[in-house]
Amino acid sequence: MSAASLAHARHVLSGNPVTALAFGLFALLAGTAILGPALVPFDPIAAAGPALQPPSARHPFGTDAIGRDVFSRVIAAARLDLGMAFAAVAIVFACGTLAGAAAGLFGGWTDRIVGRLADTIMAFPLFVLAMGIVAALGNTVTNIVIATAVVNFPLYVRIARTEASTRRGAGYVEAARLSGYGEAHILFREILPNLLPIMMVQVSLTLGYAILNCAGLSFIGLGVRPPAPEWGIMVAEGASAIISGEWWIALFPGLALMIAVFTFNLLGDGLRDIVDPRRRT
């Protein structure tokens, strides 16, 4: 980013404390995901003490039904949850943006095929489709990532396509064509770079959705396999314990989920302000 963009970013952030908070939280989350597992006090998958202990000095988030330290598990889960979300979004960002941009730029059959594909996917309630894909392929991390990517594909296609088709007749595109550059070059060198900022906004929002998607799948039993620590599974496990008074097993992973999704949503809003202030909703 150029110096001017950075200055603009700083200007927006100072006028908007909420967005600054979002960036701060994001840094915290990223740090936890990267460094977390090395810093946790206990092994997240082994028993660390007596089961079902409420929060204490030794176990700040208490212990779960098998005696594992909830704090360690929550921290360690950040890597898995955020990792899966980022992987899914990276895939759908790459494929969806490319497909949508191609559809918008070239029109014709490309547009029709890509459009039909997106429409077919969108005809299903998205969570149910994700459920179906994971159930059919097996609940491994890879399949959950694939399912999340597939389910978000139409959204990216639509945005990219709209942007690409509005820029199709733009001056610089015409200029490139006249200079003799082929359509592929135009797609990759002219259109896509201009789409990136807007797509980044979407990326941020989708990250939040991807995490919730995974949590929902775990609740049904289609999430990652035990004993892997993952926020969604921990909430599902703790759900039945709420009634008997062991609120900490579900609450802390639930809060972690909420903070993560919240961060990404606010981040998306903030990025939108930086990138395209006219679009602010």
Partner: protein
């Protein structure tokens, strides 16, 4: 006139106000509440016909209460003073008496017995029902066969009220097998009127239209949601039931079921996690009745035909690595009977009985080395996801201990409906599972779980001719001493070869309001509504 926002809003407000002005709760409802039981569970019945294809466990409960059988079991008190069916006493139900001969039994049917539509119960109905049970295949036919009831020719109508069963062989299980849920007596006339050429046994119609003589009739069924039973006042096969109505509601979340019970909005519930039962019992607000499930065991199974566990030393290593006590505490919260740490050789012919194994990691490690795996090995541990509440903590605890002796396991959760198929394939190297037999005899258990005939329940493909010989001898032994010797013999082999490691004998737990009386434990583990009543 345009239907716009304002009109709709005004209309709704008016209707709502009128509705709210209606008279409140009727006092008569309170009386009927005392004669109604509201039961909540997780899985709905998918049929009222126990002979139906794919009828599930909850369907057995519906069938048990909607239909009668020829005979039933008596009652005794268990060690906690609760009512328990008595498998050694057979009592009349639709048959008022019988004459048991070496190779046949002749039943005299009650003359006053009537189906719920008013037609009298005759021997022809019994024959049609039994023929159906042995002809439709699947589970009902298999269960009839467990008591040597296999061919239609065995069932003979002597006259309208006399029915005879001829035996193919002398089998001590034949008579008790007539009291299990499967041999129900169906109104053959009514069923036949609703049968078709392609469906001569009226499978489609009987699925949702019970045609029985049972103490309860089906008042309403909303599949997947609720089943409502109403007392059949013309029932003569036993004392008049105390409940006029039983409402069975499906509530998927166990936390919600517990909340309903604790607040008094539901009367009775079975499927709660062991931890909840422990807490409910301690709180004393509800009555919690726990009964060890007869002839049932949760076990760790190892494939004896393929994979690393064909090696008996490795199996023994696992047997010494299991964290038995931790499983009892963390998976079961102490709500089961431990089946480990027993004598080295079986001292009684009781079953289940504790294995001689205890947690001894040093010995386990030595056995792994002896088995020829100095660097350990990798394998998978599978379990039924439908029973994850218990299976998951067991698997996690076991995986941890196995890792300590060099056996690295990946945990494989198999979805419920898939589990049966996986068991059938017999490819899984290491599993945890539960198995129990309806007929409470050790030879019955071993016949299905250890015999070389390799039934699906012999999930470990264990084959040992010595074992088979002892099992066969015990099944048909006439002499008590011979029987017990054979039983002790096959149990001893089960310990030496250890294809399955017993963990515990599970409990059947039920929580109910203090006002509910008359609960009776049955081998089929479903609720019998006929003995229940509510005090004020």
């Amino acid at each position: 006139m345009t239907i716009d926002r304002r009109l709709v809003l005004k209309g709704t407000a008016a209707a709502g106000a009128a509705a709210l002005a209606a008279p409140p709760f009727r006092p008569a409802a309170a009386q009927s509440r005392r004669e109604t039981l509201l039961m909540v569970s997780e899985n709905p019945p998918n049929s009222t016909d126990i002979h139906g294809v794919g009828a599930n466990r909850p369907a057995y409960e519906a069938s048990w209460n909607l239909y009668d059988r020829l005979l039933t079991f008596g009652v005794k008190k268990d060690s906690n003073g609760n009512d328990h069916y008595d498998y050694e006493t057979l009592l009349p139900e639709l048959a008022e008496e019988w004459d048991l001969r070496p190779m046949s039994v002749t039943f005299k049917l009650r003359r006053d017995a009537r189906f719920q539509d008013g037609t009298p119960v005759t021997a022809a109905d019994v024959k049609w029902s039994f023929d159906r049970a042995v002809s439709v295949g699947g589970f009902p036919t298999f269960q009839m066969g467990a008591g040597s009831l296999e061919k239609r020719e065995q069932f003979v109508v002597v006259d309208d009220h006399t029915f005879r069963v001829d035996f193919l062989r002398r089998d001590k299980l034949t008579m008790p097998d007539l009291g299990v849920p499967v041999p129900v007596i169906i109104n053959a006339g009514l069923a036949r009127r609703n049968a078709t050429e392609q469906d001569p046994w009226a499978m489609t119609w009987l699925r949702s239209n019970p045609a029985g003589s049972g103490a309860y009739r089906l008042e309403r069924w909303v599949p997947g949601q609720e089943m409502v039973f109403a007392r059949n006042d013309a029932w003569t096969q036993g004392p008049r039931p105390g409940l006029a109505r039983v409402i069975w509601r499906i509530v998927p979340q166990s936390g919600n079921r517990r909340a309903l019970l604790e607040r008094g909005d539901a009367d009775l519930g079975f499927d709660l996690p062991p931890k909840d039962f422990q807490e409910l019992r301690a709180s004393r607000r509800l009555k919690v009745i726990s009964t060890p499930v007869e002839n049932a065991l949760q076990y760790i199974g190892m494939n004896c035909e393929r994979g690393p566990f064909t090696n008996v030393k490795l199996r023994q290593a696992v047997a010494f690595a299991v964290p038995y006590q931790r499983i009892m505490e963390q998976a079961l919260f102490g709500q089961a009977i431990p089946m480990f740490g027993g004598p080295a050789q079986p001292e009684t012919a009781a079953w289940p009985q504790p294995s001689p194994f205890t947690t001894d990691l040093a010995r386990a490690r030595a056995l792994v080395a002896e088995a020829g795996f100095p660097n350990g090995l990798d394998t998978t541990l599978s379990f039924d996801l439908g029973l994850a509440t218990v299976n998951e903590p067991i698997s996690l605890a076991l995986a941890e201990n196995l890792a300590a002796i060099g056996i690295r396991v990946t945990i494989n959760k198999v979805p419920g409906a898939n589990w049966r198929n996986e068991l059938l394939k017999k490819e899984m190297p290491l599993i945890t599972n539960t198995f129990g037999g309806w007929l409470n005899y050790p030879d019955y258990f071993f016949y299905w779980a250890y015999h070389g005939q390799n039934a699906v329940f012999n999930s470990m493909s264990y084959r040992n001719p010595q074992m088979d010989a002892l099992i066969d001898r015990s099944r048909f032994a006439e002499d008590r001493a011979e029987y017990e010797a054979a039983v002790k013999g096959f149990v001893a082999i089960a310990w030496a070869d250890v294809p399955r490691i017993p963990l515990f004998q599970p409990n059947l737990n039920v929580a109910m309001q203090q006002s509910i009386q008359g609960y009776r434990y049955w081998f089929h583990r479903q609720l019998d509504y006929r003995t229940l009543s509510k005090t004020a």
